[in-house]
Symmetry: D2
């Protein structure tokens, strides 16, 4: 049976699935090798905000254009994938509202957003009208109309199902333990046996360290656990996402609200704790007091693949030709997936890629992060 590819993508989350999609679309013969179920890791735990603007402070000059590119790629991808597969990513407009409680917050945000024409200021009467049930302590808000959102698990399903329709292989329950360079190709030792590939992309998110470290890149990624809650919205519909102090409330198409997320560094557990959930509840109530009365639906936790400088690793290994990395997207994996997929495809296809992106996401720029056992 078949066990070789032109390109093997290690990891079937949103990043690996988007890579496979863009590669398959460009005519490459690609296989995804995923340790568990496709999309069952950090992807399914994400809220799905495409926060190119709300994350602007984090992104800075280099990452913002990349994020915007990715945000825009979703429009096309969503429509193409729907035609091809029938899958609806639940992309939902309305944007995101970053709430301001204090004068200090307002000042610091205003200077931050001054250059962004897509960000509008809402004074108290405007935001209060826009968001029924909003906390009275809110003094105003910044509205980022293009920071829409998708349903991550389904977006991921869309990418890899479309990739499959375009000829890619999606191999779930296939863990890659080692990547060995042989003459002219790579040999992957997997739980199912050996796999051979001309080129390999490591896209295993927070689980990439083990493979990275064997290629001399150290272990630059660490988990930041995020705990979330879903409730049924029994009040007036929310027409946009709410955001404050890195916590958010995101409305889904089925009238649920997704509330998140804590940030617990170096915690690898995917189970929410009582304390974590309590923090989420408090933060949500600060924004929208009425969540207090809403029925709890479920809770979960996911692991963000964090890097020490806050930017992902995207690019070719400096010493191992044909080995690519696309990992460390932190809490922006859903947003950055299309641009990452396209960039990896362009690199493999020898298409032009902006030099500043190559430089910003260089895969050997980071140190191994300190070991912390918690």
């Amino acid at each position: 049976m078949k066990n070789s590819s032109e390109v093997a993508v290690v990891g079937g989350g949103i990043i690996g699935s988007a890579i496979a999609y863009y590669l398959a679309k460009a005519g490459h013969q690609v296989d995804v090798l995923e340790a568990g179920q496709v999309g069952s890791g950090s992807t399914q735990a994400a809220a799905g905000m495409l926060g190119a603007h709300s994350e602007f402070k984090e992104f800075g000059a280099s990452l913002y254009p990349f994020a915007r590119t990715s945000q825009k790629l979703y429009e096309e991808a969503e429509s193409d994938i729907r035609s091809l597969t029938g899958i609806d990513m639940e992309r939902r407009s309305g944007g995101l509202i970053q709430l301001i409680f204090t004068e200090e917050e307002k000042k610091s945000m205003r200077s931050l957003f001054s250059s962004l024409k897509e960000v509008a200021w809402f004074d108290n009467p405007t935001v209060t009208k826009k968001v029924p049930g909003l906390s009275k302590a809110v003094s105003g808000a910044f509205h980022m109309v293009e920071d829409v959102h998708v349903k991550p698990e389904i977006a991921c399903r869309g990418f890899h199902t479309a990739a499959r329709m375009l000829g890619a292989g999606i191999n779930a329950f296939t863990r890659v333990d080692e990547i060995v360079k042989e003459s002219g190709h790579y040999l992957l030792r997997t739980s199912k046996g050996e796999w051979r590939a001309d080129r390999v992309v490591i896209a295993s998110g927070v689980w990439s360290n083990s493979l990275l470290s064997r290629t001399g890149l150290g272990t630059p990624i660490f988990p930041v656990k995020g705990e979330c809650i879903a409730v049924t919205n029994t009040q007036a519909p929310l027409t946009c996402s709410l955001f404050h102090d890195q916590y958010y409330i995101v409305p889904r198409n089925n009238n649920e609200l997704i509330i998140g997320a804590t940030r617990v560094k170096h915690d690898w557990s995917t189970q929410p704790t009582l304390g974590g959930l309590q923090t989420v509840m408090e933060k949500a109530k600060k924004m929208l007091p009425e969540v207090d009365k809403m029925p709890f639906v479920r809770s979960w936790a996911g692991l963000r693949p964090q890097t020490t400088d806050g930017k992902p690793l995207i690019g070719e290994h400096p010493e191992m030709e044909g080995l690519y990395i696309a990992a460390g997207h932190q809490r922006n994996g859903i947003l950055l997936a299309p641009a990452t997929g396209k960039m990896i495809c362009d690199l493999i296809s020898k298409n032009t890629v902006p030099e500043e992106w190559k430089e910003a996401f260089r895969v050997d720029r980071l140190q191994t992060c300190e070991e912390i056992w918690i």
Copy 2:
């Protein structure tokens, strides 16, 4: 606190929710009284096919125009409700394909569908191309392009959330035990106390009998249990629903396939049995052999509110003015909800309603069905 309405709707499934929606939209002051969670009964168990044509044999002359009207009302309702609430009913085009295995089936269906211009014949090469993985035993198919589908639980949520936005009250966990006619209004005895309403609509599906029988209409509704399975589609996407011998495979927007449904008369249990699930599996494999390899996601059962003549009860009580019934929609409750809601609203608003519909759905036309203890 408030405990009176102009119109009280007993039952918060898709029928009661649609009634509340059309009434609220027309300016009536309406309250839904639902014994459990809204939409948690037969509604959430349905597959959501809007099968005006696939059910043509069942419908006959009187019900078909009503069904078509309802099918068309979904387009408008879906769009209005999305604007109002952000809820997406997951209405999905592609239609439905009724599979033909034998010459006899073909002949009988062909004569049935001859008058319906929306039904097209697909010969074997056409249907085989259209449906990847289709059983080789299929000889052809009838395609009903307008028999699209929605996600019932979410459609119901759409109707009642929109109704709420338009001023209706949605009272979950409020069981109505008795409806007493007093001078000029009705008194409803509920689990929470008394409720007063000028007009009442009984829309409790299979659970309507108890109230109907106390108004002299007997117990004309009985349950027909249906057992279903969801799988993840790991093969090529299905672009339309498949249908044969009253079993179906319906593709969802998230790439799941919904497979159903058995028909167990007089069974009130909402738990699927092993034997029931096995039947569903066999029927699905007959249509699409590859389901055999697909991962099982979940199974469930629901109760169709069946009447002895196969048509719903929609109309005013012959002797109790202001008391309306809208129940007994069998396996077509999702399809018929908008037309039912609108018809009840028109009756209450004294708008014109086609006489043939009034006659066909007359609420006192049926006998009490035989008691069967299983």
Copy 3:
């Protein structure tokens, strides 16, 4: 088919199941008629503490001996039922510890418990040693060694499965809408048709009002919703239940801790709200701060059938011979089930029943409680 019984028990929760068990054991021909799944209502939501002593303040002179009798009946019932059915109620020793934080609490409890030889005082060093991880704010505790606990859903399954083995009929998904006295027997109108019985017992917990009110007893029962959480105990095992201010932490045989419960009067919803869960978390942390770090497993809510004087209704209807009531057990339904079952059986069998119990639980002693719509 069969649709008559010597005794029909309306309700298949722990009370109805225990009644059926004692009746069947005594040779009566009994059928349980349950609206949903057997044991799926308040029973499955309970924590299962057999708190004859911890509830002493509530019980007072009349109810305490009854509660103690019931507590002791569990020993025998558990063993008999295990032999008959293989079902293990997960009865677990260790008792219950009522925590004391303030001098005032201590004084008031000490006077309360002074007469109870089964209640021991633990000073701070003793309770701290007994309960690893206990809050440092605890000053001492009362230990009630006989207040053990069972797993309610399984205890209920034990009672009705044993009853079935002894000849009883267990009819799930059979809602009783009306009980009509005819000459020499009762006729029950149910969702499945009519049922005839010489004697009837109403044991529908918080859902009994509708039937009670039609027999002239008013609507004396109202719901008090309780919200609960289960966590995995990742700290040292808890060898007894903890209790303070009507909140508790109960250890299960599988190393989960059950934490509960809020008390929301007149709320009929069986969904926990975010605010309710947060209260539960806070109360648990006050007792055992380490729960903060424990993984959340699930949450749920149930409805306690409350009466205005805090005591259940157990006995024969004063005017309708052969009609018995056994409802309104509040948060002590699990504890009181065997004694209730036995008392109903004794009444039906014309055995002796203590007069003070008959008087204390007289079914016509209560007023209809005020209607409150929330």
Copy 4:
């Protein structure tokens, strides 16, 4: 923080947990390093039969005494663990009945069991009386009274919680990627960083290959997927497990029946397929036709760690002193856990271990199994 141990056990399933328990009890300083949640892999998917006799054909001369030893160790372990932790493994007597349908089966089994005094022959009237609802096609049965069963997930929880109480560290969500021999100790590279241990035990079941192969032992273990179903027993209780043709029906303490299991070689997916579930249903109906009417509760799949000669690997690495393996227990991991745990503890403690066991389970006796991609 701490990141070293005397003994590091890689894998926190039933095998790793039992090893940790026996080591901690013997005074060793031990840490379990588990990639996911403890007990969340093959352990939680098992039925828990302690089938020393039913597996006799498989076991042969070498494995049977080991299996019997393990079976007997459960009695002591269960009682000790309950005292220490409050966890009840749900050990349940009644034994196992191997059904015989044909004369040929009977003959072959009779000769097999002739030497086992614990195996009794039941003729048709005896087995029919013993098992209500048994298929009429059964001609007789062999009863193995000592082949009782436990609830695997809880048994595992018992072992590792007891180990923790005895001083062991249980580190969940800690994946071990590499084991490096350094002078005098081993260095484990994990997802959380490095861990140092004097001795290491590889106990990762079907996921052990990657580590084994790096120590020169090849990849001798492959998965055999098993799909299972749970139903509610609505018929008479089953007092023993039923077994035929490697399929079984096992009664649980809560009145559920566990039905399994398929055997799909080289399939790494932990999702049941529709076809797999259908096979399970058919096999169950062949034994106990009434399961057809029983309510479905849930289904799942697990991976048995199979070896080419059908025996586990238990022992020290021939060339790497202090490195032990305990894996490849196939479908008998639950049964063999205590004896495996004790044997590893004895090897590490330099206690006597039967030579024939050492020889039978030698860790370098097997070849790498053929790679099969499915």
